[in-house]
Amino acid sequence: MSTRIERRFEALSKQGRAALVTFLTAGDPDLNTALDILMGLPDAGADIIEIGVPFSDPMADGPSIQASSLRAIRKGMTLSKTLDAVQAFRKHDDDTPIVLMGYYNPIYSRGTKQFLSDAKEAGVDGLIVVDLPPEEEGELCIPAIEAGLNFIYLIAPTTDDVRLPRVIQNASGFIYFVSIAGITGTKSANKTDVASHVRRIKSHSNLPVAVGFGIRTPKQAAEIAQFADGVVVGSALVDIISENLNSNGDPVSGTTEKVFQLVSELSGAVKGVHSLS
């Protein structure tokens, strides 16, 4: 049986366009606002939703997502509550794929078996676990696939052709190309380099390739959408939240709408491009 992720990419491929993948941290800036944002993302134009599971030590993330993780943790966000939010979302949207993205320790701490069954039941479709490379795939990747969840691997510019087939051997759902050698939200990707990396990945795999890390604006999104199957935007959305907090750390009114505004601009930009892939 196919997953929501597979069905969504298939449908978009028929429309001849790339997917807009949005990333926000669960529980940022607080549980209710984050849930409002999550519920409204599909209407604003998100094709696939990545939810960041907050972790105290997000090694691969830049300052924006680090700060959002800490805000969420301080507001009491946990892995359990993240799954609750997904469950609430699923009550009114049974189509939009949800990918949890985060680090291994909160999952390991809960127990991988328990986590996989809870995630599946809540309506999660895929997992990106940043610090679980294929070398450790027995821990979660293989059991996740057996549980009917997609396990999405990151490919970096440093992943050479010798290593690449090993990384994607058990990848499913899509492949996430990290467009910069660096952390999230810090540098911008060079379009030509990214295009050649995406071609390189596609020569090894039939899975859709989404590109993320360093894409902030509708213009950049449109450029990447010319050759990638998905465009991931995270830090730019998270920044809207951090820029709209009052001195108590609460969001000022209109924050949610500003997030939707950028999502809809990004979506418009991605939809305006007919993919060459």
Partner: protein, 406 residues
């Protein structure tokens, strides 16, 4: 559990010690880690690499460090014969230099031109800045903002040595955050940079290579004790933050089943208060900084900050090989509070004329507990892994003495 033929066989092909260790890093880092492993495996089999290492150990670091019979403390405790392995006499005042020399030689072999490191108390930062000065390589040290305030003399030392100190404000601004930041630097500068990790933690191969460089402590101890007493020691004691000085002393003795081995963690204000850094005693297995090991963490798996009077023990994790040795039951792990360490610090200073760092003061506090109950022919070696000059301001503050730190 079946008894192993050897506790020294090291990691499996994927870098695990049992369930511990491993390579839990982002894909951007994986190729770099694999390169370090490849380079290290070649270097390890190359006599030229080790001859350069040993040359510098002798002529630059000042090894072998003495194995010193602490007669007055032996009399004071009234039991086991206490020997100190004097790694505080090394150049830069601690065992850290053993590792940084090894790693910078590896960095050179790999053609890397830029060195990064994390530091908590500043000892590893100083040891890294020192070897960078020696080899003329630029050095960037990540240090938590909180630690920069607490460790002003070491910050100045590093600057004198030509290092650039980058304050880390993310997270809680301590050692674990400095390590996160160094890893972030590394993924952003993949071509030219080598990351010198300061302890037997991090992704494979770091726990192994740091251990191999630190094993010089235990290897010398074997020979020196043979020369002094004609046999091996009976008891080894060392303190643990990340665990590199302890691993260096312990590892060469792991297969000598009659040698009792004890690691001493920092219990801070007491394990029961929750304010401590005793990952093995008060934590549970988790994944952080590229390896699975015992960690201080919340029920939901968020990493907690440790507390210890000694900034060098203030790390919420521990080297994965220690976690494995704990679960195998080969090494005993115990803990000692801030106050006990402070007492041992003063006792050692007054009775032996040696000002120990607060880290080995933890080891000594445990020696004080067990030595009186051991027979007079018991040979006990404690690793005196660092000197205490850096700690005099902290100690003064705790003793209610004001000295001018300005």
């Amino acid at each position: 559990m079946n008894k192993l033929n050897s506790y020294r066989t090291g990691v499996d092909d994927d870098g695990h010690f049992g369930i511990f260790g491993g390579r839990y890093v982002a894909e951007t880092l994986m190729p770099l880690i694999l390169n370090v492993e490849k380079a290290y495996l070649t270097a390890r089999d190359d006599d030229k690499f080790w001859s350069e290492f040993h040359y510098l150990m002798e002529h630059y670091v000042g090894r072998p460090s003495p194995l010193y019979f602490a007669k007055r403390l032996t009399d004071e405790f009234g039991g086991a014969k206490i020997y100190f392995k004097r790694d505080e006499l090394n150049h830069t005042g601690a065992h850290k230099i053993n590792n940084t020399i090894g790693q910078i030689l590896l960095a050179k072999r790999m053609g890397k031109t830029r060195i990064i490191a994390e530091t908590g108390a500043g000892q590893h930062g100083v040891a890294t800045a020192t070897v960078c000065a020696l080899f003329g390589l630029p050095c960037i040290v990540y240090m938590g903002e909180t630690d920069i305030e607490r460790q002003a003399p070491n910050v100045f030392r590093m600057k004198l040595l030509g290092a650039e100190i980058r304050p880390v404000t993310s997270g809680t601004g301590t050692l674990k955050d400095a390590m996160n930041e160094a890893l972030r630097d590394w993924v952003s500068n993949v071509e030219d940079t080598f990351y010198i990790i300061g302890t037997v933690a991090g992704p494979h191969p770091y726990p192994t290579l740091v251990r191999d460089f630190q094993c010089i402590i235990g290897e010398e101890t074997r020979q020196q004790m043979q020369a002094a007493e004609g046999r091996l020691p009976d008891v080894l004691v060392a303190c643990l933050g990340g665990g590199s000085n302890a691993m260096g002393l312990f590892h060469p003795f792991l297969d000598d089943e009659n040698v009792r081995i004890i690691g001493v963690e920092a219990a801070g204000h007491g394990i029961e208060t929750g304010e401590h850094c005793a990952s093995l005693t008060g934590g549970r297995p988790g994944v952080l900084h590229g390896n699975r090991t015992y960690l201080l963490q919340t029920e939901g798996g968020q990493i907690l900050d440790g507390h210890s009077i000694s900034a060098g023990l203030d790390y919420p994790g521990i080297g994965p090989e220690h976690s494995w040795l704990k679960d195998m039951g080969r090494v005993e792990y115990v803990s000692v509070t801030d106050n006990e360490a402070l007492e041992a610090f003063q006792l050692c200073t007054r009775m032996e004329g040696i000002i120990p760092a607060l880290e080995p003061s933890h080891a000594l506090a445990h020696v004080a507990k067990i030595a009186p109950h051991l027979s007079a022919d018991t040979l006990l070696v404690m690793n005196l892994c660092g000197r205490g000059d850096k700690d005099i301001f902290t100690v003064a503050k705790h003793l209610g003495v004001e000295i001018d730190n300005g």
